[in-house]
Symmetry: C2
Subunit: 220 residues, 2 copies
DNA sequence: TATTGTTTTCTTACACCGCAAGAGATGTCA
DNA sequence: TGACATCTCTTGCGGTGTAAGAAAACAATA
């Protein structure tokens, strides 16, 4: 009675596993990700994945890393024009990327970002800014401000709830807002004021960049 | 042979359960929170908690809600002076509160914020700004910008990793940074440039508020 | 070809998790 | 006392991450 183990090789790779995990959470949400289910999607037993990725934490880190690698080209297009334009386009591209992968948004916001791909991105950003005359410390402040704001804003805009993905489409979550207890919010809702997340994002981004630029020009 | 069930009443309350959960994650981290362990901390079987809180998702939502309630007083002190000062103090208090409860930072960033306490806070903020002459739409933009930035910045500053809490103190995580591959970052590290998270937070916050104020003054 | 050794896959097992269902003790009130 | 609502516990299910190790698939060598 042979217990028939170990099917023929599947040609798996750490990279293939992580790419499959990215595709999996894009489709099913972060909460649905498990080694057994991901293994099934790859035609393999769950424990097999441990040969390529040593733990779930490493899996998540690898997914962040890979996502940054894959997006690096979009995030920093060829620097053209003022540093403010470069940074603005970076922020816009970052936001778009996060909205395209809402499940990864949570992971990205939650894991410390000192991975090679993240550091490389930061390094490149600093270089661009310095080449345009921005001092090192200011370059760090600008990039930190823009990334923090973009991440925070996109989280509020599209933040999925781990474990809740897809359970609450909740389209009119604000439509049932009592005007007596929340008069201001009810008014905003009624008049449609301030509901355009994208416009708000661009406005604040502009203020942020213009503010830094003014400070730097004043110091020069 | 009586199977000896149901100990005498413990005087538990939904509020007590949630407060205990807040204390638990403050001490042990978010990943350690489970009904069985929280029950043990309260001298009760794990399943008992389901009588007070219907699910883990409801537990997390309740914790956010309660934290906001408890902090509401600190977050909006009596409005004194310009709206910019009020908002600045709000942001500083919010950051301090988040740093005091790093485990809740992840939860707060991750859950949609349309709960009564959050809405009440927002409502109050809008009111303060409008009383100082800020139009509704701009008030929403200002508050959204400040909250997004504060949350994003604090996440990057102190973001705990769910499941990793306390496993990596990692004090010198940047100390082993290769100057060949990351010359800019190595320089920043070597000269100590831009490592003060608090100073950076205040600087960006100032730019943000001054930028909005300038826009509003210009429009008046 | 036969044998050895490495790489890959699978099986089994464990402790833990959230939660559904329901039993039974505790306390309250007529 | 009895009836009733409130509270706590027990049991059980399917899921998770992962430790340990057996066994099949392949590569290389004798």
């Amino acid at each position: 009675m042979p217990s028939r183990r170990a099917r023929p090789r599947t040609g798996l790779t750490r990279e293939k596993v992580i790419d499959a995990a990215l595709a999996f959470v894009d489709e099913h949400g972060l909460a649905a990700l498990s080694n057994r289910k991901l293994g099934a999607a790859l035609g393999v037993e769950g424990m097999t994945l441990y040969y390529y990725v040593p733990s779930k934490a490493a899996m998540l880190d690898g997914m962040v890393e890979r996502l940054l690698e894959l997006s690096a080209g979009d995030l920093f297009a060829e620097p053209a024009g003022q540093w403010t334009d470069v940074v603005r386009e970076f922020a816009v591209a970052l936001r778009r990327m996060l909205l395209d992968h809402p499940a990864m948004l949570t992971v990205l916001a939650t894991r410390p970002a000192a991975t090679p791909a993240a550091l490389a991105l930061l390094e490149r950003g600093i270089t661009v800014l310095r080449e345009d005359g921005v001092p090192l410390g200011d370059a760090l402040d600008v990039l930190n401000a823009v990334v923090s704001f973009t991440l925070g804003h996109t989280l509020a805009e599209a933040g999925e709830t781990p474990g809740h993905e897809g359970t609450e489409p909740d389209p009119g979550q604000f439509s049932t807002l009592d005007p007596a207890t929340y008069p201001q919010l009810a008014e905003a809702l009624g008049t449609g004021t301030g509901l355009d997340a994208e416009a708000r994002f661009h406005r604040t981004l502009h203020i942020l960049l213009a503010g830094f630029a003014a400070e730097l020009d004043g110091a020069r």
